[in-house]
Subunit: 248 residues, 2 copies
DNA sequence: AGCTTTCGGGTACGATGTACGCAAGCACCG
DNA sequence: CGGTGCTTGCGTACATCGTACCCGAAAGCT
């Protein structure tokens, strides 16, 4: 009859989500969990890789693990939290490139690594948008980036600014890249067929005379070589960073 | 009994979607449509603005128009197409800044305008991702950007590269910005409460010793002034473009 | 052994996107 | 003017989704 306060004060979701164990308390009492959050994240990732994010559902993840849908809710608060788990798990897989000590080289390598991860798992970018995911692995990435920029005479705030300048651009770039790729896959057609399909529409636009640059782009057959565009974009951004660096 | 081919060959979805009229054929026969695609787009946009994208549903848009859910499918193939419509309608609203003739100024203005549009309609970025949306208004934006870069001694391909460099960065930047904002709204707490809420988790990370830069960032109280970061990022990117410009 | 605490997962509900089909409205041909 | 054939309007129906609720099973602790 004593009015005991609850055994543990409620932890905010952030803290709960990233606890090393999935157990809801620290005590070892009660039935032990049958799965780990890493297992769950992996199962979800496998599904997203194979069938796309839009096919990812709690039920599918559960049956992939050989359990019922509702069991997952012992490990994550909701689907949103599952997604955060997936993101951080992914970021954790990323192999951080070795540092050479030359900041340009190292920034390049970091950007390339970030792009590669996102290309290998096209759903990543879409899922990471809209959620902050301050998981341990995401932070590890930040630490790596910051350490590259250390010693260039920048303030901490400036270092952070530059790190996020690069990250933002990589994210934006890859998004464009994936979009281009997605539209072709979604249509289920080959590139050839797809081109053929929209040809009349393009013709129509061009002959309207309202889009002279677009017309030239199409006519001169400028195609999107994303690899090259990425390198050249990186060139420009790094040049910009160098230009605004305090003189040494 | 004659094996007539269908009156009109099936148009690819792109061409159908952007036809000026919503009618499914050019003929004036049959019952005239009761709505316009612009009307539908506006209704959908109003809902997304008021309740967020996740609350956007075909049924809601329909009842906002005073009609049944399935009627919408006479105007758009599916929800995906409705979203494309919304995006292009939005882009069409954007007021393109006047050109001054100084490319740096004009590029800046374009970037600022793009950011403002996305901030005013937070759902825009999320919806535009994953779909190419080559609507008339999107192309108008492209034309504007290209015209700014014309006459700097760049090839068409280079101009396009630079245009998309800026766009990509703006997209990436705004995404980060909106994410930060969204997490606070979603939690339903004030900034103060939210900070308090994750404090123990942050403490925990910092005391682990694994994240020295993160720790300094928190301790020095570096906050994200997005307006300033945007300006400074723009500085760096434009500096980078200038640095790789052919000497004049 | 019994008590306490935790996990497992079935059932059920409300919401969503949309396939299907039929009724209603309008233009044109006879 | 009345039919004919096209078009749009939209109710019904279904599969699928996230997840609230609940209770039985399983595992320490005393």
């Amino acid at each position: 009859m004593t009015d005991r306060t609850p055994a543990r004060s409620e932890l905010p979701s952030e803290a709960r989500l990233w606890r090393p164990s999935s157990r809801s308390t620290d005590s070892a009492r009660g039935r032990p969990p049958g799965y780990s959050r890493a297992q769950i994240a992996e199962a979800a990732i496998k599904i997203a890789d194979a069938e796309g994010v839009e096919a990812l559902s709690m039920r599918k993840v559960a049956t992939a693990l050989g359990t019922g849908a509702m069991s997952l809710y012992r490990y994550v608060k909701n689907k949103e939290a599952l997604c955060q788990l997936m993101v951080d798990h992914m970021v954790g897989q990323a192999v951080l490139p070795e540092r050479t000590g030359e900041w340009r080289t190292d920034l390049r390598a970091l950007a390339v690594a970030q792009r590669m991860t996102q290309l290998a798992h096209p759903w990543l970018a879409g899922i990471a948008a809209g959620r902050p995911t301050m998981g341990p692995n995401t932070l590890r990435m930040l630490e790596h980036g910051m350490s590259i920029l250390d010693g260039l005479g920048l303030s901490l705030a400036e270092m952070l600014e530059i790190y996020s300048l690069i990250s933002s651009w990589v994210n934006g770039f890859v998004r464009e890249e994936l979009t281009e790729e997605a539209v072709r896959e979604r249509s289920g057609l080959s590139v050839q067929e797809w081109r053929q399909n929209i040809a009349p529409y393009i013709e129509n636009l061009m002959s309207s005379g309202d889009y002279p640059y677009f017309t030239r782009i199409v006519r001169e057959g400028i195609d999107h070589d994303f690899d090259m565009r990425f390198e050249r974009g990186l060139d420009r951004i790094i040049a910009g960073i160098a230009a605004t660096l305090p003189s040494r």
